[in-house]
């Protein structure tokens, strides 16, 4: 079932293939740590999949180099009159890669597919109550409440061709078995898949019939997943690949110091934080305090925050490449609260005093859970934090593990304090409020990543107001209040924004977007 188009034409010898690469104008090779699990844009909502498929499929709207929303398959959109929702005017003259024309039926079909039970992206459409095709190039999304951010929230909602999907038995995303769309693509985007060997390599070629003007000069792009960071770096430095993301922080100097290579540094939108078991009635991993939960007291939580020396963490562990965080989104994300941009200062003495005041003059021991393969330097960070906590009497019993059994442990409340990174999928402050700060509510699907169940009635009250407010100033006022409350409560200890480190050969021009998506259409090989 594998595509062998390329191989079949040059079956006689692999050497021929390589000769062909050399002769072609601007082939481009890149690597990243994880292979996209599938080519189906609705089957798995993971960063590797969405990032990769954004080169092939397109949505109604798309994000520009600065993350702003711009027209894509829709040329304009306006709020509906007389009811909640949005009307999208679609682009005419767009064709899919197999040559069939794009129209509102394809959007309707893709909506039904993406919001079906088998889809992993259906949460994007939770506010949608009805979708109406007005004519071939107009479609309306009706929402249950005013939803000013709806167009932003569907930037990764990718459109499939109805005829193609139905003809190939792929009308629904593959859930437990593969279907045609798992390995094959037919988007409207700038690139098509010419061969794919999952976990080994995927070759993309430009789509000549793309509606937009191509600004890249890539004639063929080959993607290889390389899991081992040192191997990936070696592949770049030996010239076998042109670009890799990410590279380890500590190797930045090594790459920069070499002729012919460059490092692209940026801030991701992911904020790394510590969370607490707010509603636990006792500590699980303590050897001295076993009858109550000291972290239920905001004073203790503040003491923990004050014990952390972010400057040293930045200098030694992150080589000066992180930005300390004050709230759950970094500055620059919409809804960021400028009014609450300060984080608790490093002050071990004050921390000790607070602990004494809270009734723990000698401190106490507790369990700290961390991942060791999820975030940059996550394990080293937790070790450093544990050592800093120990300096004020908070003796962390550190346990680290792979992410594959981390979330289940957190869901089972198996922690006293834990590490979490959060990237706002909608690039708006509302996102972490919905997932991390609202009281857990399975019914309404709120607070689903609020493992410690931080709960403040005022925050719960403010969330719907934020979601429905059209006036930006009023909306920001609501968000400022939420940030203020959660900072006072020390609901989490936001630590820093995760850095984004890419490396490329000097002759490659590319754009690093804050969501860590790699867009081939912005690549120029000089």
């Amino acid at each position: 079932m594998r595509h062998r188009i390329l191989r079949n034409t040059a079956l006689a010898s692999g050497a021929v293939i390589f000769a062909a690469f050399g002769a072609a104008a601007e082939p481009f090779k890149w690597a990243s740590a994880t292979d996209p699990q599938t080519m189906d844009p609705h089957a798995v909502s993971s960063a590797p999949v969405l990032s990769f498929l954004n080169n092939i499929y397109e949505g109604l709207v798309r994000r520009g180099k600065d993350m702003s929303i711009e027209p894509s398959l829709a040329t304009s959109w306006v709020p509906l009159e007389g009811e909640n929702g949005w009307r999208f005017t679609l682009r005419e003259g767009v064709t899919f890669q197999d040559g069939s024309a794009f129209n509102a039926e394809d959007v309707m079909f893709s909506y039904e597919r993406a919001s079906s039970e088998a889809s992993d992206v259906r949460s994007w459409f939770a506010p949608v109550t009805e979708v109406r095709v007005v004519d071939d190039y107009t479609i309306e999304f009706v929402t249950s409440a005013p939803n000013p951010l709806f167009p932003d929230s569907i930037a990764n909602f990718m459109i499939l061709d109805k005829g193609w999907a139905e003809a190939n038995d792929a009308a629904l995303p593959a859930r437990d078995a593969e279907n045609f769309a798992t390995m094959n693509v037919n988007g409207t985007g700038p690139f098509m898949v010419s061969s794919r060997d999952p976990g080994v390599k995927t070759v993309l070629t430009p789509f000549g019939g793309w509606w937009d003007e191509a600004t890249h000069n890539v004639t063929e792009a080959t993607f290889t997943p390389i899991g081992n960071a040192a191997t990936g770096l070696a592949a770049l430095l030996s010239g076998e690949i042109d670009f890799i993301s990410p590279i380890p922080l500590q190797d930045v100097a090594q790459v920069e110091g070499r002729d012919g290579f460059k490092v692209l540094e940026g801030e991701e939108t992911r904020v790394i934080m510590f969370g607490f078991g707010h509603e636990h009635d006792k500590l699980l991993y303590s050897s001295d305090v076993t009858d109550k939960n000291p972290f239920a007291d905001p004073k203790v939580r503040l003491a923990a925050a004050q014990a952390l020396d972010m400057a040293s963490i930045d200098r030694v562990l992150f080589r000066g490449k992180i930005e300390a965080a004050s709230q759950l989104v970094p500055a620059g994300i919409s809804g960021y609260s400028e009014a609450n941009a300060d984080r608790p200062a490093y002050d071990p003495e004050a921390a000790k005093a607070l602990l004494a005041e809270a009734g723990y003059p000698d401190g106490f021991s507790f369990g700290l859970k961390c991942t060791n393969d999820r975030y940059i330097n996550d394990e080293a960070l937790c070790r450093a934090a544990a050592s800093m906590f120990a300096a004020v009497g908070l003796n962390a019993e550190l346990s680290t593990g792979p992410v594959r059994d981390y979330w289940p442990q957190l869901r089972e409340d198996d922690f006293d304090m834990y590490l979490l990174g959060w990237s706002p999928g909608t690039f708006d402050m509302e996102h972490p409020v919905r997932f991390l700060l609202h009281t857990q509510d399975d019914e309404k699907k709120l607070g689903s990543w609020n493992f410690g169940n931080y709960s403040n009635p005022r925050v719960d009250e403010l969330l719907p107001l934020v979601q429905q407010e059209i006036d930006p100033a009023q909306r920001q006022a609501y968000l400022d209040e939420i940030v203020q409350i959660t900072q006072d409560d020390v609901a989490y200890i936001p630590l820093y924004t995760q850095p984004l480190i890419w490396a490329a050969k000097e002759n490659i021009d590319l754009t690093q977007r804050a969501d860590d998506f790699f867009m081939l259409r912005w690549v120029t090989v000089n």
């Binding site: 100097a253 699980l284 394990e379 050592s387």
Partner: protein, 301 residues
Amino acid sequence: MIAFLKRSEGLWLFVRSPAAIVAAVVAVLIIFGAAFAPLLSPVNPYDLSSFSLFDGLIPPLWQEGGNAKFLLGTDDQGRDMISSILYGARLSLIIGLAAMVIATVLGVGLGLAAGYYGGRFDAFVMRIADVQLALPAILTALLIDGIARGVLPADMQGDLRIAVLTIAIALSLWVNFARTARASTFVQMNKEYVQAAIMMGQRPARVMFVHILPNILGPLLVIMTVDLASAILLEATLSFLGIGLPPDSPSLGTLIQIGMQFLFSGEWWILWIPTLFLVALVVSINILGDFLRDVFNPRLR
């Protein structure tokens, strides 16, 4: 009597083999350092409050930026390298030795019995060995780790990591012993002294452990040394694959795994000093194993 002769002959061979002497000295030094790590180390690397990020990434004394407080420099956490290495070697040796002992007892016991009883029991043991061989060490480690995590209470798991790892390593090593013991036992079973002992009605356990075992000890000793070396390396490899010891109580293997991150960043000492220690330790154990082989002159299976 025979044992005594062999021993004295061994002593004589030992004096004549410079490599063995050097290896023995190195091994003894490292083992000594590891055994008395708490007395010799400047700080206790397991005590989180004994080091600080402030002191992170300090190079060894002889390099620019070195600090007399940290002879061999510090790692990215500001932890003294000497202390980490001594404590790490201690853990590596404890795990290696314990795994080897468990594997020996298990493997030799089963191998002896399989060779002695033969037939169905032999087939049974050998098929278990097949099952074991089919499970790569990494998987055995995952299996044991998983079961321990599922069965044991949460707060005990940290302390039990070492035991879990030891058992996993032991399980992936015992087959060697079993196969060797079994093959040697087969050979011994045909010897007259064994047949005589059996005819005289001695209990199987007595025949196995009193008569056969001393005569197959040679090849087993060699395997023991080789497997001690393998166990230490296996522990390092498991760390590389992410199922070794946690980095806040590192073994030599974990230290190397941590150091791998700094392979190209200029902080060479974080990787190469523990690696050097590990290699020195493993090489000397292997040389001693070679030496033992020369003494017993067995054929390694």
